[in-house]
């Protein structure tokens, strides 16, 4: 066990994966010599050489498309897109090819690959550097979408992703990279893709989120505990496929749900979760499910980003509303 930041835990996961399987190669902008703009791949080029840790030209479609070809050709590429806002040029490759080759060829060709993407706001970054459009990927068939909320999960989920027979979009919340330190097991260990975690039990309401938001859910739960409310927290960890059973079970128990995401609201993950909860738990609902989300606006820049990203106060207020309903 070592105490690691999420950036370190991901670095560790990549090292473990590359040590174990020489088919694992990394490619992306600045992943090699400088070790990535967040230093997540720091030192890997020294250990594995430039043939396996590849600095690429500035071309996201090329990165994903080449990684796709590599995957079909028998490697296990882990591509990095520098920020989620720069994944859109690769969107066609992801939607039209990465997520489809298995079905298109009826299992004859497959693309076991990971696309790692730092995402989310909260650090007052420049435009395009705070995107939280994970729903676009969750809406896309044929890929899985994983979002760790902390170091331990990040390592275990990434190792599962690298070994997954299908392509995984792995979204790394930027503001968690260095904010949370945790004990992280050494060596190889896995957290299964597709299973949510009940990270706190409670009975008054269910708080649902993933990624950076989970830390805020914990803070909100603490604050509510001070007011005598015990809320359950579900950390989704995988947003596609959604672990519906865990969500439904929790909400059937508590009768109230607040879903928190940083993303835009319309057709976001909060909408998906609310839709499926009312489908499968309507008769348990004691109040409307609340969506606490980013708005349907471009993520504001530093000076007004605070008005966009859900904070603890907004989360607590939403829980209070459901409790009063």
């Amino acid at each position: 066990m070592a105490t690691l930041t999420m950036a370190q835990a991901i670095n560790d996961a990549l090292r473990v994966a590359m040590d174990a399987d020489e088919r694992v190669v990394l490619l992306g902008e600045d992943v090699g010599v400088t070790g990535g703009v967040f230093r997540v791949t720091d030192g890997l080029i020294d250990r594995f050489g430039p043939a396996r840790v590849v600095d690429t030209p500035v071309a996201e479609s090329g990165i994903v498309g080449a990684a796709f070809g590599m995957a079909v050709g028998g490697l296990r590429p882990v591509a990095e897109i520098q920020f989620l806002g720069f994944a859109y040029p690769a969107f066609d490759q992801i939607v039209s090819h990465v997520g489809r080759i298995r079905n298109r060829s009826r299992h004859r060709f497959t693309a076991p690959m990971v696309i790692r993407v730092p995402f989310g706001g909260g650090i007052g970054a420049a435009e395009h550097h705070s995107e939280s459009t994970e729903a676009l990927f969750a809406h896309t068939p044929g890929i899985k979408v994983v979002v760790p909320s902390g170091p331990r999960d990040a390592k275990g989920l990434l190792l599962s992703a690298v070994e997954d027979p299908d392509p995984v979009v792995f979204l790394e919340p930027i503001r968690v990279y260095r904010a949370i330190k945790e004990e992280v097991p050494d060596g190889d260990y896995r957290i299964p893709i597709g299973t949510a975690a009940v990270v706190r039990e409670g009975s008054d309401a269910t708080l649902i989120g993933y990624g950076a938001v989970v830390a805020d859910l914990r803070r909100a739960a603490d604050e509510l505990a001070g007011r005598g409310r015990t809320v359950e927290i579900v950390d989704l960890r995988t947003i596609s496929p959604l672990d519906a059973d865990t969500l439904v079970a929790s909400v059937r128990k508590t009768g109230r749900a607040v879903i928190v995401t940083e993303s835009h609201r319309t057709a976001g993950m909060a909408s998906e979760i609310a839709a499926l909860l009312q489908e499968r738990a309507l008769y348990s609902l004691l109040a409307p499910i609340e969506r606490v989300t980013g708005w349907d606006v471009v993520v504001p820049l530093k000076r007004s980003e605070e008005y966009y990203i859900p904070d603890v106060a907004r989360i607590v207020a939403a829980v209070e509303r459901t409790l009063e309903a």
Binding site: P57, A59, A66, V72, I101, S105, R106, S240
Partner: protein, 359 residues
């Protein structure tokens, strides 16, 4: 000697396409192949045409969905792929049935795909041919990745990708060419410049005189070749494959050719080009040319032609029969192809569909 532009010397590309057989089948240089091999290429072109005509006919009968005919482009498709080894990768498009078949994909699969059956996308094990790319442009970088992977795995495999003149306008063409150049992947880019992208004439697709000259912008050799001359296409592709296999990196081949039919079976091509133009190109038919060449050498006779036609028909008809008698696609099958194991979400949706179908 072929005249490639060179990655470093920055030489202008030759404006006259490289050619070995003229339009009347007369040899203009050293033949790259012996007579038997030329006869095999000829036979392959004949069979590709038989498939193509059958497919168009079936489409008219409603037995296939939209079909993109390849007639006129046989020399490029057969000549380029003939230069590959069995283990080399082929990444081609919706119009490249001839090329894909020659590399082992199977007529049955090609028919199935055009019937709207995903199982057409599953070539036999060991056949390194991806299902045809329907999106224009995106697949070339896949060939780059495949070649790159082969390199990293220490395999001496090259990858060849076929694409049209229109595809060169997509950003993905650029990224594929650039990656291939930077990482010196063993990739052969073969542009079938058939003069049109649906209705758009090649002259409006890019202001560059040739597509071959684009190679220079990627530090890669490029060559212009007569795409209706199967020997010339074979020769330049062989050079490119040798270069790729020996660590010399990628090449761009522009094969000048023409589709003599419509873009697809739903296209009315005389809206954007004249019957005279089409007729002119029909006179440069890639199959005729080789027949004349063989005939001149006494290596062709009507009996052989008849036998070839009969064999082609048999092969194609048998493939049709196999495709048309494949087992039904079960409702569940639309879910089972997506992941190695259906996800929890898809398992639930499959149940829902079964319920809706009253099962």
């Amino acid at each position: 000697m072929l005249r490639w532009t060179s990655a470093t010397s920055n030489l202008p590309v030759a404006m006259e396409p490289f050619r070995l057989l003229d339009e009347r089948g007369r040899l203009e240089g050293d033949p790259p192949l012996g007579l038997d091999e030329v006869r095999r290429l000829y036979a392959a072109m004949v069979e590709a045409r038989a498939y193509d005509r059958k497919a168009s006919a079936m489409q008219r009968q409603g037995r296939l969905a939209t079909y993109a005919p390849l007639e006129g482009q046989e020399a490029t498709q057969i000549g380029s792929v003939a230069a590959l080894r069995a283990e080399d990768w082929l990444v081609a498009t919706y119009r490249d049935a001839g090329a894909m078949w020659l590399h082992g994909y199977g007529w049955r699969n090609l028919f199935l795909g055009r019937m709207g059956d995903e199982r057409g996308g599953h070539p036999p094990e060991g056949v390194p041919v991806l299902p045809p790319s329907i999106t224009v442009g995106a697949h070339m970088i896949h060939a780059v990745g495949l070649g790159w992977a082969a390199d990293l795995r220490g395999e001496a495999r090259v990858s060849l990708t076929l694409f049209g003149d229109g595809a060169t306008s997509e950003g993905d063409f650029h990224e594929a060419m650039n990656f291939a150049g930077v990482f010196r992947t063993p990739t052969i880019f073969v542009c079938q410049n058939n003069q049109y992208a649906i209705s758009m004439a090649r002259t409006r697709q890019t202001a560059a005189e040739t597509i071959a000259q684009k190679a220079d912008g990627y530090g890669m050799p490029g060559v212009l070749v007569d795409g209706n001359d199967v020997l010339a296409v074979y020769a330049v592709t062989t050079e490119a494959a040798e270069r790729a296999r020996s660590g010399g990196g990628p090449s761009l081949i522009e094969a000048l050719t023409y589709r003599t039919g419509p873009h697809t079976t739903t296209d009315d091509h005389l809206r954007y080009r004249s019957a005279e133009e089409v007729e002119q190109w029909r006179r440069r038919d890639p199959i005729d040319r080789v027949r004349r060449y063989l005939e001149g050498l006494g290596a062709w006779d009507p009996g052989w032609e008849e036998a070839l036609n009969a064999a082609s028909t048999t092969a194609v008809e048998q493939a049709v029969a196999e495709a048309e008698t494949i087992a039904a696609f079960e409702p569940d099958d639309i879910f089972t192809g997506m992941y190695a194991e259906p996800t929890s979400v898809l398992r639930r949706q499959a149940e829902e569909l079964r319920r809706d179908l009253g099962e």
